[in-house]
Symmetry: C2
Subunit: 271 residues, 2 copies
């Protein structure tokens, strides 16, 4: 399907776009089923938070309507929205009157092996560490060289995802997923105040856990804590939940809480 730029079919971008020049923008990757963009409210909440923190002017309701129209036309697949600060003059100074530029791209449904969800996956232990930057932490912004470097660390198909630590060695997330562990019935995920992307599926799982009265901890996680976890899983808004069976020498079983949440995630993504 054709891309749209600011609501119009387009196949190319202005060479002055600040998304290209500086990674000055945000993105969302949205699963589309039956012509509907899934978890749309959560995607738009994160996008609005990003716009506010980066001071990018954007009409979120217009973006909602465009995403819905685009999803209706594509039917099934993965919709990527890139929102940049638009064209720039020379230099870093953002133009306070600039309007965000909306780029919509449609892709076929993600083709991950069903075994990832059924039997679970192995994580590659990435040497690339996430840098600490509270001003950008949590945002799905376009400055993603750390993820590019981390993802380039393995080519084999034995590892479906990579584990990323921060500079201090805290366990943060996957390269394109968030990470949860379960210990003594408590669901634990990393505090993302210093780095990491606050994923839409992560937010949904935290919400579902609360509804189910599952105790939740959002905290700093050490490798030691990961080692002693009863269950580990990764998640994102496209594939849902993958149980994690191993990372380097560490091994975990696929546990009951993982399966319970996986069923919920599957329901949300089969909508």
């Amino acid at each position: 399907m054709d891309c749209w730029v600011d609501g119009q079919p387009a196949d190319a971008l202005s060479l002055k776009d600040r998304g290209l020049a500086y990674g000055d923008g945000l993105f969302e990757t949205i699963a589309v089923r039956g012509g509907q963009p899934l978890l749309l409210d959560r995607h738009l909440i994160r996008l609005a938070d990003g716009c506010s923190r980066l001071a990018i002017a954007a009409d979120i309701e217009l973006i909602r309507a465009e995403l819905q129209s685009y999803a209706a036309a594509m039917g099934e697949g993965v919709l990527k929205l890139i929102l940049t600060r638009g064209d720039g003059l020379r230099g870093y100074a953002p133009d306070p009157s600039a309007q965000g530029r909306r780029i919509l791209q449609g892709n076929p449904p993600a083709a991950y092996p069903a075994a990832h969800g059924e039997q679970g996956i192995r994580l590659f232990p990435c040497a690339t560490r996430l840098s600490v930057q509270s001003l950008l932490a949590g945002l799905k912004h376009l400055n993603r060289l750390e993820q590019v470097l981390a993802r380039a660390e393995w080519q084999d198909s034995e590892h479906a995802e990579g584990l990323m630590l921060d500079q201090a060695g805290r366990v943060i997330e996957g390269v394109f997923s968030n990470l949860f562990l379960v210990r003594d019935g408590v669901l634990v995920t990393a505090d993302l105040k210093r780095c990491g992307v606050a994923g839409v599926m992560r937010a949904e799982i935290l919400f579902q856990a609360e509804s189910l009265a599952i105790p939740v901890q959002i905290t700093d996680i050490s490798l030691d804590q990961l080692q002693w976890a009863d269950e580990v899983f990764v998640c994102n808004s496209v594939y849902g939940i993958w149980p994690v069976r191993a990372c380097a020498a560490l091994h975990w079983p696929v546990g009951p809480l993982t399966r319970k949440l996986q069923t919920i995630a599957r329901t949300l993504l089969d909508a």
Copy 2:
């Protein structure tokens, strides 16, 4: 003047470019005088280092030839080269066979007030801190949201540049410049092993200082050391050297070593 993409006039970029998607690329901003790209060897050395560290395939001699042809056609001004990893598939994994995409953009000569060089400037003390990431330190890559946020901190024309510290409070650089101080006859600049951009003019000044037998220290710099400096200046490969007269409550005179190096920089940029 028209932009060039991979050697051909173009006004638009593929929407699949990984420079847009992830800031997956590098750039160089090159002064052009009399049809010549200035300090070209140093720009290409840094670019080659970036390509090697990010594993972006690029033919540096082809890029040299293109920069020379483009500069000859533009005559005077500022030439910006963006080198991206080219088009991407979905996901962070870089295609090892991808060739870098070359984008050349011409701009008119920079219009900075002459007073910046003559009387010196005031630095804005940026609250945005540089994050520590040794894998990217020194590179002029396209992940520049920290500079965008820092440059957005001031709008007045009293401040010509901003001072950026790292997360630990070390003095690193300007938003678009490197910083030097002079203390007891020694020229001091920040060690860029954790963060910062290793500027072409910085490299040239270090080289010139060695030729002139001026003692040089490349080290961590504290705000205390900045306070006790005899002279402070910033530099880049477009404007040369600006003496720094003040930053917040700190004040410095314009000193003799600054003037000496400024004369050399001016000669290099008037070539």
